[in-house]
Subunit: 322 residues, 2 copies
């Protein structure tokens, strides 16, 4: 069933929706963040939260009941904590939409509604997960409360896939330069703000720590000046993800400080790829994370190549029981 129809059905069954919770693990938790940010900033009624699945499992909110919508997400659909969270939410009477690439997975079998996202093929399809979850949030808001920029954001959804594929096609040279420059660094920090904040987190814990066994940390660049900036000097390495939208000034302030003290900085700026000239200004914020994630993917691939450490290499994941 397409997303719009799913939400129409849910609205007829749950006229008094009290909240929308997003639940996942690792990259699939971070991929839920733009949708959670969208609801948090645009809804005037709906409660919303984002949980790593096991926190939800061990300490779910008291408000979880038959009037709650829960979005669970897992690429392969077999993440045990997320499958448990889906089951728990249904036991409590909540309505669950699962978002996964695998229509026969455990997650797909334990939900009220299934949304299957793409993954293989063009780079834009790796962002289909994040985009579809945002589409769910937009439909919920528009149908329950109305959303004044509904047409604008739908035009954004129409354009973002092509923009991503065009953008990544130009980025290999600078990604290679990044990889050569940063490959031996002891620690690489990631920073961003707004809807892109968890893209910094996801690159840090998944692409660098998990897939490259490289030390990393991440934080909101509004927080940079309240602690982390004290480590800044020419020996500190940062990747700054710069939004083309409302929180750009926060990112720019961090960039200025990094440059002032000669920190080793890789800048990925959504404006360089023309985001706001293609996506309507009223909704541009919410498309930064998809565009920037796609560009970061090329950065990670080039880093893997120069370090001779494939992104698929693991020592524990998929190999052990834990």
């Amino acid at each position: 069933m397409e997303i719009k129809r799913i939400i129409e059905k849910i609205k007829s069954d749950i006229p008094n929706l009290n909240g929308i919770y997003f639940v996942g693990c690792g990259a699939s938790c971070a991929d839920l963040y733009p949708a959670k940010y969208f609801i948090e900033h645009n809804s005037i009624k709906l409660r919303t939260s984002l949980y790593t699945a096991n926190e939800f499992n061990y300490d779910y909110p008291k408000a979880l009941d038959k009037d709650t919508l829960v979005i669970t997400c897992s690429l392969g659909g077999e993440t045990p904590e997320t499958v448990s969270a889906s089951k728990l939410a249904m036991e409590k009477g909540a309505t669950v939409i699962s978002v996964t690439n695998k229509p026969n997975s455990s997650l797909a079998k334990n939900c009220n509604y299934l949304v299957v996202h793409d993954w293989d093929g063009k780079y834009s399809l790796k962002l289909d997960k994040m985009i579809k979850v945002l589409q769910i949030a937009v439909e919920v808001l528009n149908q329950y409360e109305g959303y004044e920029n509904y047409n604008d954001i739908n035009s954004g959804f129409d354009k973002i896939y092509d923009l991503i594929d065009q953008s990544v096609s130009t980025v290999v040279p600078e990604a290679r330069e990044f990889a050569e420059k940063f490959k031996d660094d002891e620690v690489i920090y990631l920073m961003s703000s707004g809807p892109t904040y968890k893209v910094a987190y996801s690159f840090s814990i998944c692409l660098l720590m998990e897939m490259q066994w490289k030390n990393s940390g991440s934080f909101h660049d509004g927080e940079y000046f309240h602690g982390p900036f004290e480590i800044t000097d020419e020996n500190a390495s940062f990747i700054l993800l710069m939004n083309d939208g409302k929180t750009r000034a926060i990112d720019a302030r961090a960039l200025e400080f990094l440059n002032r003290f000669n920190a080793k900085t890789a800048l990925i700026d959504a404006k360089d790829y023309g985001l706001s000239s293609i996506i309507p200004n009223s909704v541009v914020d919410y498309f930064n994370p998809m565009l920037i994630s796609a560009i970061l993917r090329i950065y990670a691939e080039e880093l893997a190549t120069v370090r001779n450490h494939p992104l698929t290499k693991r020592r524990y994941m998929w190999k052990l029981t834990y």
Copy 2:
């Protein structure tokens, strides 16, 4: 005015409270987290969010209006972003409670209600900020919706200060051992869960990065298995903050993995200090962050001593305009 009276007055002025937002920067943002966690998990009506102040300033939620309560927090009361957030919230018609140690500060002058917290003196007073913010959240919930464990949590508030001071009095030897063992490590990671999650964050960005110029990262230990655990081996250093409460099983799972692969691990376990034998079980979760923060303070002091790098030493903060 005492906290209970403040909330009584607010309730008479705002009978239909729609949400409670918490706004601060750095450690004062992290110190708001237990209260936000409390509302998120126990309220069935109130919307709640935690913002670093500049994100609030540049992209405040649409729901911010005359029916909203905003809690702003800054130790010295002069953090510019937080003062701006207080002003912005009041301009939008929201009611603002500011929590600060300085009753004549800019933050104290830009709010509807002022709560002054202690700081100097016994170690427990360094947690008075976090405790008072939680007390505000508890009063809001109890007066607007009722809170079944209200008496239990108030008995916890009566006992936590003494428990903190007793606990820190025994901890210097193990803190010194930690400091000797970890002082030269390239990177130290912090992990926790539940209401204590942001204590891990705060120690990482403030005590280590800001006050010791040491590389660090932090994440939820439920997320550890979805990325960061791939860096685990005998050369990786972790501080694990273990809750005595609902999410303890998540912490324990991370500890087991760290030990299995001989990671260098410092464990701070609230159970070792008898938290759940003193605080009623129904509310014990919410007192972990205060107890564990106090113990971590001793760890930081010992680290500063063995590294000959005072916690007050800065190269940018308080010295430059930025």
